[in-house]
Amino acid sequence: MITLEFIINILSLGSLYAMLALGLVIVYGILRLVNFAYGELIMVGGYTMYLVTLYTPLPWLAVAIVAVLAVMLTSLFTELVAFRPVREKSLTAMLITSFAVSTLLQNGALLIISPRARAVTLPQIFQTSVMIAGTSVPWRNILTILTCILTLALLTLLLRRTVLGIALRAAADNFKMTRMLGVPANTVISTAFAISGIMAGIVSIFWIGRSASVTPTIGMPPLLVAFVATVIGGMNSLTGAVVGGFVYAITISLLGVILPPGMVEFREAFMFAFVIIVLLFRPEGLIRSKTSVERVG
C-alpha cells in the first residue's frame, strides 16, 4: 500500500504543512500570539492571484511573486494597524484583535469581491505530471517539496547568519532581554510578521494550486492545520513546526486510510483532541529537544 505515489504525496503535503506551520510559529515564538488572521493571509494570496491574472497580462511566475509580496504587505499592515497598538496591553487583547482582524479580512473579501468562489488560473505546470520509477507524479507535488527545501534553507541562513536573524531567535528566547540590548522591538516584530506573510504567500500558491479557486472562507482549513502542527511540534520551535507539519501530514493521511468509513469524517476532531492531549501532558510539544539547541531555528 505504501507506494511511491503515496510517499511523494505525503512529502508534498508535509512540505506544505511545514511551511504553513512555520509562518504561524515565527510570530508565536516572540509574541506568544496565535494569529487567528493567519489563515486569511492565504485567502489574500489567492485573491491577489485572481485579480492580477484578471487585470494584467503578467506571466504566472510574476503573478506568484506579486501574490507573495501582497501577502507580506498585508501581514505587515495588520501588525502596524491592529497588533502594535494592543501589544502592550495584554495577550488576551491581542488574541481578540487577531480574531477581529480575521473576521475583517474575510468579510472584506466578501464585500469587495464576491461571496462566490473565484477561479484562479493556474500555470500549465500545475496540471502536468512526470513519470518517476513507473508512477505518474504531479509536477505540483515536486515543486512543493523543492520550494519547501529552498525556503527552509533561506530561512536558516537568515536566522543563523544575519544579526537580524540572531535577534529574532533571541527574541523568541527572551524578548525583554533582547530589547535591553538595544534591539528595537518594532523591527523584530515587523520582521517576524513579514516572514509570516511570506510563508503564507508561498503556501497560498500551492494551496490554491490544489483547488484552482478561492473563496472568502478558504483561510480556515489551513489555519486549523497550522494550529495543530504548531502545537504538536512545540509552539516555541521552528524545527518543531516543520516536524509538526510532516507529522500532521502523515497522521491525517494514515487516518484517512485506516479509519472505517463512519469515522473518517471525524479525522479533524481526532487531530484536535490530540492537540488538547498534547497541551495537557506535553505542552512543549512532542519533539524532544534540549532546551538549548533545538529551541528555535
Partner: protein
C-alpha cells in the same frame, strides 16, 4: 423603608432588569413583527453573552468553546422537545433510541443545559490547570471538535443538513424571562464568594493560592455554569429559529457574542447587557444599509459582509482605545451614584486594560 434597604445590594440587577422589561414592553406595544423578532433574539443573545461574561469576566480567560456548548444545548433540546414524527421527518437516520424521547419545552431546555454542562465539566477539569495561553488555545480546539462532531454525526444532528421542524416555543416573553433570570444568576455569581475568589486569583494567582483559594476548582465551577447557560441559551435559540445547521454554532456566532461582550465591557454584568443592546442595534442598522444597497443593486456581486466589516473595525478600535469596553468594568446603578473609582471598578489589575 425596610424594603428599600433590602433591595439596595440588588440595585444593579434590578436596574438592568428594569431596562430589559422596558424594552420588552415597548416592543409588545408597538407590535411590529420584525421588531419583535429582533428583540426576542436579542434577549437570547443576551443570555449567551451573560454566560460568557460569567466565565471571562471573573477568570480573565478567553473561552472560545462557549458557542460550541450553545450548539450542544440546541441539538440536545430539540431531540427532546420534538415529537417522534417531527424528528423522523427531518432526520430519518436518527438513532432509534432517540426517537421516542419527548418532553415539554422547559425540561428539554434544562436537559440541553445539563448535557452541555456535563460535557464542560468532564473536558474542562484537566484544562483548568493550564496556563492562560494554553487554555485559550485549548478552548479553540474544543470549539473545532464540537463543530466537527456536530457536522458529521448525522445520526444525531442530521449532519451538515438543516434540522427543521422545531416548534417555535421561544416567544418574546419567554426570552425575556430567561434573560431576567440569567441577569440575576450571573450577578449573584459575581458577588458570591466564588466570584470573589475567582477574581482574586485572576488578579494575583500566587497571593490567592497562599490564602487557600483553589483556583482550579473555582474556574471549573465557573466554566460549568457558563456552559450550562450557553446550553439553555442554545435551546432557546433553536426554538426561535426553528431550523438550523451546525455552522450556526461556529466562528461567526462566536465573533458576534465576543464582540457584544468586549464592546460592552467584559468585566461587569452591565457591560454584557449594554454590549448586547448596542451591538444588536448597530447590526440592525448596518444590515438595513446592506439590504438597501442590495435592493438598489449598486454592487453587481451583491453587498455582503458590510455589517461584519464595520463590527470588526469597531471591536479593534475598542481594544486599542478603550479595552475595558463601554462600561469600563463598572456596573449600572439607579440613581447614578458617585463613588471612589478604586472601590467601584471590577476590572482586573493587569488584564486587557
Amino acid at each position: 423603608m425596610k424594603l428599600a434597604a433590602r433591595l439596595k445590594p440588588f440595585n444593579t440587577p434590578l436596574t438592568l432588569v428594569a431596562a430589559v422589561l422596558a424594552i420588552a414592553l415597548l416592543t409588545q406595544l408597538l407590535d411590529i413583527s420584525l421588531l419583535t423578532r429582533i428583540v426576542t433574539v436579542m434577549f437570547v443573545s443576551l443570555m449567551l453573552v451573560l454566560g460568557l461574561q460569567l466565565y471571562m469576566g471573573n477568570s480573565g480567560i478567553l473561552n472560545f468553546a462557549h458557542i460550541g456548548f450553545m450548539g450542544i444545548g440546541a441539538y440536545t433540546a430539540v431531540i427532546f422537545s420534538m415529537t417522534p414524527e417531527a424528528k423522523l421527518l427531518t432526520n430519518s437516520d436518527l438513532y432509534p433510541f432517540l426517537v421516542p424521547l419527548h418532553l415539554p419545552f422547559l425540561p428539554s431546555l434544562l436537559i440541553g443545559g445539563l448535557v452541555a454542562a456535563a460535557l464542560a465539566s468532564i473536558v474542562s477539569y484537566p484544562l483548568m490547570r493550564l496556563s492562560d495561553a494554553a487554555a485559550v488555545i485549548t478552548s479553540f480546539a474544543l470549539l473545532v471538535i464540537i463543530h466537527v462532531v456536530l457536522l458529521h454525526w448525522d445520526r444525531v444532528s442530521n449532519g451538515p443538513r438543516t434540522l427543521f421542524g422545531v416548534d417555535n416555543y421561544t416567544t418574546l416573553w419567554v426570552s425575556v424571562a430567561f434573560a431576567v433570570i440569567t441577569i440575576f444568576a450571573v450577578y449573584l455569581f459575581k458577588e458570591s464568594s466564588i466570584g470573589l475568589r475567582l477574581r482574586a486569583s485572576r488578579d494575583d494567582r500566587y497571593a490567592a493560592a497562599s490564602i487557600g483559594i483553589n483556583m482550579v476548582v473555582m474556574r471549573w465551577l465557573a466554566f460549568m455554569t457558563s456552559a450550562f447557560i450557553a446550553g439553555v441559551g442554545g435551546g432557546l435559540w433553536a426554538h426561535f429559529i426553528t431550523s438550523f445547521k451546525p455552522y450556526a454554532f461556529y466562528l461567526s456566532e462566536t465573533f458576534v457574542v465576543l464582540a457584544m461582550l468586549v464592546i460592552g465591557g467584559p468585566y461587569s454584568v452591565s457591560g454584557a447587557v449594554v454590549g448586547t443592546l448596542v451591538v444588536t442595534a448597530a447590526r440592525e442598522v448596518l444590515r438595513g444599509i446592506e439590504n438597501q444597497v442590495n435592493i438598489l443593486q449598486l454592487f453587481p456581486e451583491g453587498f455582503f459582509g458590510f455589517t461584519e466589516v464595520v463590527l470588526s473595525i469597531v471591536l479593534i478600535l475598542i481594544l486599542v482605545y478603550r479595552p475595558t469596553g463601554i462600561m469600563g468594568g463598572r456596573e449600572l446603578h439607579w440613581p447614578r451614584r458617585r463613588q471612589a473609582r478604586s472601590a467601584e471598578t471590577n476590572q482586573p489589575e493587569n488584564n486587557i486594560s
